[in-house]
Amino acid sequence: MDSIGEACNELKKDYDACFNTWFSEHFLKGHTNDSMCAPLFKVYQECVKRAMKDQQIDFHEVEKNLLGTEQERKPPQKNS
């Protein structure tokens, strides 16, 4: 599966391969130490965060919980 940042695709592929092995061979068997893929994760994550910034994707926007608050967009006012 691709990344949102084209430049991150290779880094993601390497990390995903490592994670899939770690998940089934270590984590599911109860070995929860996740240092095995940490170096690959670090470089991939830096790349993704840059790509998200470039594409102005705000990952935490959803936490603002606009629905039902003052910031929620109101229905258009009817012209009298």
């Binding site: 899939n20 089934s24 599911l28 991939y44 965060k49 994707i57 629905l67 039902g68 929620e72």
Partner: protein, 223 residues
């Protein structure tokens, strides 16, 4: 607000289903999902927590574009927890795009089937809220139908991934067998050529020996 729920049983152990869940995309049943990115991930008290950004392409009818806008790539945030000891995987997704008008909270819960722990039960729930746009109840119905429809595709996708994983294991076993066979064959080849050379050597040695024996003194008298 509309709530939709559903249950499904996979005839596979929880470990297989959890592994497949991470490798669900890409698959031919959900071509709309074009990207998944891990934004945060860590193990806390033996539980794996992951935040992913899921990118998908949405195709809206013309009339809806006028209300929502024609954004084509939509983003969703997925938070998941995997507990290998309790054998639980739970994924919660919320859309990041159209947050002002539409909120779709989706929850997928994978757990061992209560009556047969070699199977996996998927409990699925979606809560759809549309606010601040005309025809919001109608929109909620539309979205809920779409989710219900996509849920079927999601299960097909999971079965597809599980089959792919099983095939990979088979391929791996097959190639290991092939390597073993080839190694055996090579050793046989080496052994047989070694034997052949030894035979050659002993035959040649015997021949030379015979030749020496044949060098009877009488032969020299001819010179």
């Amino acid at each position: 607000m509309k709530i939709w729920t559903s249950e499904h049983t996979f005839n596979h152990p929880w470990e297989t289903v959890a592994t497949a869940a991470w490798r669900k995309y890409p698959n031919p049943h959900n071509p709309a999902v074009i990207g998944t990115d891990v934004v945060e991930r860590q193990v806390v008290d033996g539980v794996l927590h992951t935040h992913r950004l899921v990118s998908s392409i949405w195709y809206f009818p013309k009339w809806a574009q006028a209300i929502i806008g024609s954004a084509k790539v939509c983003y969703a945030r997925e938070h998941s927890e995997v507990d290998p000891f309790a054998r639980r995987m739970i994924l919660r997704t919320i859309n990041l795009t159209f947050c002002r008008h539409i909120a779709v909270h989706e929850t997928l819960n994978y757990l061992p089937h209560p009556s047969d722990s070699s199977k996996t039960l998927l409990k699925q729930e979606a809560v759809v809220t549309v606010k601040g746009v005309p025809l919001n109840t109608y929109m909620e119905d539309l979205l809920t139908n779409k989710i219900s429809n996509n849920a079927g595709k999601g299960r097909q996708a999971m079965e597809w991934v599980i089959k792919k994983l099983n095939d990979e294991v088979k391929d791996l076993t097959r190639s290991t067998d092939e390597i073993l066979n080839q190694t055996k064959k090579s050793i046989d080849d080496i052994a047989s050529s070694a034997k052949k050379s030894m035979d050659d050597i002993s035959q040649k040695a015997k021949k030379s020996f015979d030749d020496i024996q044949n060098l009877r003194p009488g032969n020299f008298s001819e010179f």
